[in-house]
Assembly symmetry: C2
């Protein structure tokens, strides 16, 4: 295969699995990942980037495979002591994981921007893939629920996605500038991949940053999205529940509709082949694959199939 510049928009766990397959398929150096920061949070004065870290840990081979996030073989002793000090400890910070947040916060306070900090963390973990936060500015996914307006992590972790969602908005999106390299990586990419992430909570906050959606619309290179929904169910997380509560059909079709203004190819799961023609009627090419990633082999297979389908759209 010729060398291709690949840019991927990514949320957390689902994206990380696909990307882990991707960097075993193509050289890491050729991949730029634009990551979500809408789920970032400050806890005890530490700046935490759960989605960026999930991707980083996964690609560095350090993620806890069982949970899909955090570090393998981590302990939670600092957290138990923070609890002894009377602090809220619903966000499960491992001891090793904490080092990332301590170092990140230290670098941010010293004046570096998040994109530079992320690049430094990745370099230290031996990654050659480029992970870019979509913006260096503050952008927060806010969930308006029947129990009030919650930050993403409050909704997701503290409240375990239980409150009914009324609305989602992205605090700070209007002022957020794309981080250096973000728009360039879209404009210069040979292939652009929307990872199998929650379109509302993970990809929307990326698209909400000035110029990102427009850059995708203007690109004349293939933009391909992998469905995060299989047979009306999300592989992980509250995607389906939120879609329903916001009045959308819980279906891969809804995902395709979210992206139709810039998408060329939609990777639909084979279990959803019945949706192929309706998605094609949106003007998209549809490629059918087994998108469920249970094993490292699944991740690699799916990455290869997606690249192949994108570069040879006539052979689905």
């Amino acid at each position: 295969m010729e060398r291709l510049k690949i840019t991927a928009l990514a949320g957390g766990v689902g994206a990380a699995k696909f990307l882990r397959g991707l960097i075993k398929t193509v050289p890491q150096e050729d991949v730029t990942i634009i990551g979500n920061v809408g789920d970032d949070l400050e806890l005890y004065g530490l700046h935490i980037c759960p989605d960026l870290d999930t991707v980083m840990y996964s690609l560095a081979g350090m993620v806890c495979r069982k949970r899909g996030w955090g570090l393998e073989d981590d302990t939670f002793n600092c957290l138990s002591m923070l609890s002894r000090y009377g602090l809220e400890t619903w966000f499960k910070l491992g001891d090793k994981d904490l080092a990332t947040h301590v170092y990140r916060t230290y670098l941010l306070k010293s004046g570096l921007r998040l994109s530079r900090v992320t690049s430094e963390l990745c370099r230290r973990l031996g990654l050659r893939v480029k992970i870019l936060p979509v913006t260096d500015n503050r952008l927060r996914t806010m969930i308006v629920t029947e129990e009030g307006t919650l930050s993403f992590q409050e909704y997701f972790v503290k409240k375990m996605c239980e409150p009914k969602v009324l609305e989602v908005f992205f605090d700070g999106a209007d002022e957020a500038e794309p981080a250096p390299g973000v728009l360039e990586s879209i404009m210069n990419a040979d292939v652009i991949i929307i990872c199998p992430s929650n379109p509302i909570l993970s990809i929307q906050p990326i698209l909400a940053v000035k110029g990102v959606r427009e850059a995708l619309q203007r690109s004349d290179k293939p933009v391909v999205a992998i469905t995060p929904i299989i047979a009306g169910k999300a592989v992980k997380g509250p995607t389906v529940k939120i879609m329903r509560e916001l009045g959308y059909a819980a279906s891969a079709l809804t995902v395709a509709e979210f992206y139709r203004d810039f998408l060329e190819i939609f990777v639909l799961d084979i279990r959803d082949r019945g949706l192929k023609s309706v998605i094609e009627s949106l003007g998209l090419k549809v490629s059918l694959h087994d998108t469920l990633m249970r094993t490292p082999e699944d991740e690699i297979r799916l990455a290869k199939e997606v690249l192949n389908a994108t570069l040879n759209p006539s052979n689905p």
Copy 2:
């Protein structure tokens, strides 16, 4: 025994052992500890107070008995990850210990002064004793050595006290104001105790703060110091080495001389009884005790003996 207000000047491990005995002898509420902050450091943006923490952890029954500092049953996983990020990790931060520094830094950044923060940490750990940093301002014990000028922890931990000491000074001492309650606790005390700590590195930085030495001199209540040197050797740490390098005799006599302007009673170790008369010639009362604290029982016995000797100086 009648209730007495006791104020103690304290360094780290040696002081903590004595104080642990003291609070098993008198009600915690009656004890105010003025702690050294000259060995404080900032690491990875975290504000660390090793001496204050050693005292706090010891009195809360949480200190690692074997090391004398840090927390019992702690792990060092965050530190190993910080090392993976390429950071210096000569200062041995445990995972549980880290919670203290994270929370302290968080409270300091939110605008609280160190004395308030310390009081909050103590309260959360269930302590009723009052631990006061001698100052809320920045004060740093600096060690001028043949290898350059080092902060206390660089000298003590990183360089393992190896470089020859030429001079010790207290950066910031001229501007440092005593923390709220420090001078009052000396003026209102019925007994003032100088704990068995390094006089140069642990007690001097306390005495260097504006008004502290003067308050001790003005007090008409007994001021008693317990020797940190037994038979020409420090129980722990580099006291003797530093004394020699700075041109002092490595002897309990030197310690007594340091404090003679405000001291009434010097607690000398029985192994040094030969020094009794020369120390008495400084105008001090000398009380002979077994000052070596190997067991919790030793700590309590010494605390009782010191209080008894101070209140009944005629019965040594």
